[in-house]
């Protein structure tokens, strides 16, 4: 009984903290899409922020007593919520675009039913796979949950991070911290806790993608986004395996959706930029790859939108990322680095690898094959859908989000070039997961920034306030703003 209550409290407190951090503006959103979007972003933000508390408590104060720790977390979340209410966080206009517009066509009602069926199937797949393997797969028991167990069970918390302990002691702690926090609430290392978190991360990734697209680009694109992610084999498989690539992908697509909302809000989007910074910072707190992707995305955003951002926009972006980035920096500075990519390398070794042309060829081949076979053809299928729908893919070349993902992919390429581990083995074991990290964000980028005319808002359902969209169709705009709806002229 206590286990269930503790686990429920862990999730509920995280969602409450996320609501306070992401913004009270979302409370005013109406409709199913608004609820999906808000809950997804709240869970992601709240779980990320509250993941800081267990490692901090454990290292500074020793092993927490479950009830005292729960009370402390609840009080901290209450303070954050009160501060958010006191700030009277500005409610953003135009939160829903065409979502609440015309009555849904019959075809779209069927599409909604299909999405629900696909989500139900994905949930069933998660449940039966978790029942067969409740401890997840390789990375879960070798790294993430192993770190959580060591944090909870090691008599001296510092021993959990000593060199030579399993699970890469220098890896970031968002996932282990969240699992350890849930275990502390539950009073035991119940396998259900990491499994539930893994499910909610996967669901939040789908929710952030689909509801973000629906809010910004119309219901049809939201449905397509949900279809494509729920139809991606790697996503369905990685979630019950409790891999950290799923949370990383969720934070990245959440940051992209929030950035699109901030762009829509124009000069009023400073709070939105802070949220983007928070999600990018949390991506770096999930996995080391996030520490590569987050700066890529942040730099691409600043470079592309410098005129509208200016110094205060950049400050808002950096301010949002401050807490998680500071946590990453403090943790990396404290834990002796044992990262295979950087530790114990001589310059001669690195130069020898960097100048080996055969490695570049082998990696390029693996990337090509990996992209074509990703998700058992899901990428190829998505591309076909976009082409059939007439998506002007050349628009992607003007998207900073596409550039960020491209540079991130180049970063992955460089990591493979320089890895001291056996190249083929590492490519086989990690490349599909690296592609998975980018996949939801790529779907968002393709569907949002390229906005296939055949799938974007129908005439009369134009997205609200999207001024720089090359594909925003003309027509009256349905605006749902902070609890009320109104018709407006397109801008």
């Amino acid at each position: 009984m206590r286990e269930a209550v503790g686990l429920a409290a862990a999730v509920a407190l995280a969602v409450a903290a996320g609501a306070a951090v992401v913004g009270a503006r979302a409370l005013g959103a109406r409709g199913a899409w608004g609820a999906v979007r808000d809950l997804s972003l709240w869970f992601l933000a709240g779980t990320g922020v509250t993941s800081l508390t267990y490692p901090a408590w454990r290292l500074l104060l020793g092993r927490p007593h479950g009830v005292a720790y729960l009370a402390f977390d609840a009080a901290a979340v209450a303070v954050v919520c009160a501060a958010a209410v006191a700030r009277r966080v500005r409610r953003s206009p135009g939160a829903a675009g065409c979502v609440g517009g015309l009555p849904p066509a019959r075809a779209e009602r069927l599409a909604v039913a299909a999405v629900i069926a696909a989500a139900a199937l994905a949930t069933a797949a998660f449940a039966v796979t978790t029942a067969a393997g409740p401890h997840g797969e390789w990375d879960a028991f070798a790294i993430w949950n192993a770190r959580a167990r060591l944090m909870v069970l090691e008599p001296d918390a510092r021993g959990a991070f000593a060199p030579g302990r399993p699970g890469h002691p220098d890896y970031p702690l968002l996932l282990p911290g969240s699992v350890a926090r849930a275990w502390a609430y539950a009073g035991s290392e119940v396998p259900l806790a990491p499994a539930v978190l893994a499910y909610l991360f996967a669901a939040s990734g789908v929710g952030a993608l689909a509801a973000g697209l629906a809010s910004l680009r119309g219901r049809t694109l939201g449905l397509v986004g949900a279809f494509l992610l729920l139809g991606t084999w790697d996503w369905i498989r990685a979630a019950p395996h409790q891999y950290a690539d799923v949370p990383l992908a969720a934070y990245l697509v959440g940051a992209f959706a929030l950035s699109a909302a901030a762009e829509r809000d124009g000069a009023g989007g400073r709070a939105g930029l802070a949220r983007v910074g928070l999600f990018l910072g949390l991506a770096a707190w999930v996995k080391n790859e996030g520490a590569l992707l987050a700066p890529c995305a942040g730099a691409a955003l600043v470079a592309a939108r410098w005129r509208s951002l200016r110094a205060d926009g950049v400050a808002a972006l950096a301010g949002g990322a401050l807490v998680p980035v500071a946590a990453v920096a403090a943790f990396k500075g404290w834990v002796p680095s044992d990262n295979y990519l950087f530790a114990r390398r001589s310059l001669e070794d690195v130069v020898a690898l960097a100048t080996d042309a055969r490695r570049y060829l082998a990696i390029a081949r693996a990337f090509g094959a990996g992209i074509l076979s990703f998700g058992k053809g899901a990428a190829t299928f998505a591309l076909a859908v976009l082409l059939v729908a007439g998506a002007p893919l050349r628009r992607l070349s003007r998207s900073w989000r596409a550039w960020a993902l491209g540079v991130g992919l180049l970063g992955y390429f460089a990591a493979y070039v320089l890895t001291p581990l056996p190249l083929r083995e590492q490519l086989d074991s990690s490349l599909p997961r690296l592609l998975l990290q980018l996949w939801p964000a790529l779907l968002f980028t393709a569907l949002h920034d390229a906005a296939p005319p055949a799938l974007a808002c129908a005439p009369g359902q134009a997205p609200a306030g999207r001024v720089d969209s090359p594909a925003a169709p003309a027509g009256p705009v349905h605006v749902e703003a902070a609890g009320h709806a109104a018709e407006a002229e397109p801008r």
Binding site: L121, A124, A132, G133, A142, T220, F227, I236, V388
Partner: protein, 150 residues
């Protein structure tokens, strides 16, 4: 704008066809995933679950350091065994020398004088080799767990 796009913008049926195709793919992937998970469940063959039963039952009786002797021949599988053992036996330190054959590993473990966990399927040639090596000394604690299949 390509002609296809212009045609599609005014062609709800084509748009619906694209939606239907995407939905079919999502449903197919979901159905396959459910079937695969159910297959695993029916077999009860998940190695982590088997290891959880095996290692979990003995965890409380072990000291801080455990020597693992594994009959897994593949280097990746041996690594997997070590990580699984480390996970279920945490916070104990689990050692496995990847360079040693099982019998040699057993002799080295005996020399260390710590607890020994053997991952082997009883009756196999590997298990018999280990039993022969065990004749050269007695460990502080000895536990045998069945080798988990993948």
């Amino acid at each position: 704008m390509p002609p296809t796009s212009a045609a599609l913008r005014h062609s709800p049926s084509r748009r619906n066809a694209a939606l239907a195709a995407a939905a079919a793919a999502a449903l197919a992937v979901g159905a396959v995933a459910v079937a695969r998970g159910a297959h695993l469940l029916r077999l009860g063959a998940d190695p982590a679950r088997a290891a959880a039963r095996s290692f979990g039952a003995i965890a409380a009786s072990l000291p801080a350091t455990v020597q693992l002797v594994s009959c897994q021949r593949d280097a990746v599988e041996r690594d997997r065994s070590r990580f699984l053992a480390a996970y279920f036996l945490a916070p104990r330190t689990v050692r496995l020398d990847p360079a040693l054959e099982p019998a040699a590993g057993m002799r080295a473990a005996l020399a260390q004088g710590e607890a020994i966990v053997i991952e082997a399927t009883p009756g196999t040639a590997c298990a018999r080799d280990i039993e022969a090596a065990l004749a050269s000394g007695r460990p502080r604690t000895l536990v045998t767990v069945p080798m988990v299949p993948r």
